[in-house]
């Protein structure tokens, strides 16, 4: 019994080290979205370079949608741009862009320069729709199923690994569901 008591500090030490070691690999800046599994919030915005508001919630239905929140001033967005151009060839989903707090002219010239991967680009000049969607930084990417329910949100650029391991399997599963 005595001997066991002597081991207590060592055990506490091991517990501490384990907890702290795990803490090193946590990403506290990736805040989980409370919207997963919920219906997509209102998406009523003008298209880029168009002043008319259009309501897009109905158009979310019938196909899997990737809604990519980006801006021409966003540095990290250029990081994933090549990947977006590449995945835009995939016919299993529609790729929409949500241009966040941006100057429309700058956004258009950005897309002309780098190529436009999006089927639709919506402009959220004030960032109010983004608040409804719980966006807190660019880029962010939502995966929305055929019923218009949010299934996943990626915070930060989509890396090749994320695409292979998270997005592709999820999109395949959602696209084959009726």
């Amino acid at each position: 019994m005595r001997k066991l008591y002597g081991l207590i500090p060592l055990m506490l030490f091991i517990v501490c080290i384990t907890v702290m070691w795990r803490g090193l690999s946590l990403h506290p800046s990736d805040v989980p979205s409370p919207l997963i599994g919920k219906r997509a919030p209102r998406l009523q915005l003008p298209l880029l370079l168009n002043t008319h508001l259009i309501s897009l919630n109905k158009e979310l239905k019938g196909h899997v949608t990737l809604l990519n929140v980006w801006a021409s001033w966003c540095v990290a967005c250029s990081e994933e741009h090549d990947l977006l151009l590449h995945i835009a060839k995939n016919k299993n989903f529609e790729l929409w862009g949500l241009d966040y707090k941006d100057n429309p002219e700058a956004a258009v010239s950005w897309l002309e320069r780098k190529g436009n991967p999006y089927q639709k680009v919506l402009l959220d000049k004030q960032g109010l729709t983004a608040i409804d969607w719980g966006v807190y930084g660019t880029p962010e990417t939502f995966v929305i199923d055929k019923q218009g329910i949010i299934r996943y949100k990626q915070v930060g650029p989509i890396l090749a690994d994320d695409w292979q391991n998270i997005f592709l399997p999820l999109i395949q599963q959602l696209a084959s569901a009726s």
Binding site: P28, S29, V31, P34, Q126, I131, G137
Partner: protein, 131 residues
């Protein structure tokens, strides 16, 4: 000389850094203004996570302050406003997370550790007395 030292220590101890966001919102009455201050001081900025919405200079924090201001002006209750934000950003936006199964460990661990420590201490004193 000693007095100067004391004075310096006193000044250092009472020195406070106060950060406040720059936008100024006019309120109809002091009650609304106090509500706004309490709300923005108990909600987290998601961009710079160790700052409150009141302290942060990030664009999102300023947008959310405007939202809170407009809702306070519209006469919405604190609960409604907090609900509005939690719906969008999750419990993470609260500096005081709710007492729910996900946060039991967070809330109860200090009590558990304290009682463990007290237990060890009492045992130790009891043993020492007996010897």
């Amino acid at each position: 000389m000693k007095l100067v030292n004391l004075l310096i220590i006193f000044l250092l101890l009472t020195m406070q850094c106060t950060f406040a966001a720059e936008d100024i919102y006019p309120f109809k009455n002091n009650k609304d203004s106090a509500r706004f201050n309490t709300l923005t001081n108990t909600l987290r900025c998601l961009v710079c996570q160790n700052q409150t919405l009141a302290e942060s200079n990030s664009g999102l924090a300023s947008d959310l302050r405007l939202q809170i201001y407009q809702q306070v002006q519209a006469g919405k209750s604190d609960v409604t406003i907090i609900h509005y934000l939690v719906d969008r950003y999750g419990d993470f936006i609260l500096y005081q997370p709710a007492f729910s199964p996900a946060t039991y460990v967070l809330w109860l661990a200090p009590i558990a550790f304290l009682s463990l420590g007290l237990g060890v201490l009492i045992r130790y004193i009891y043993k020492a007395k007996r010897q």
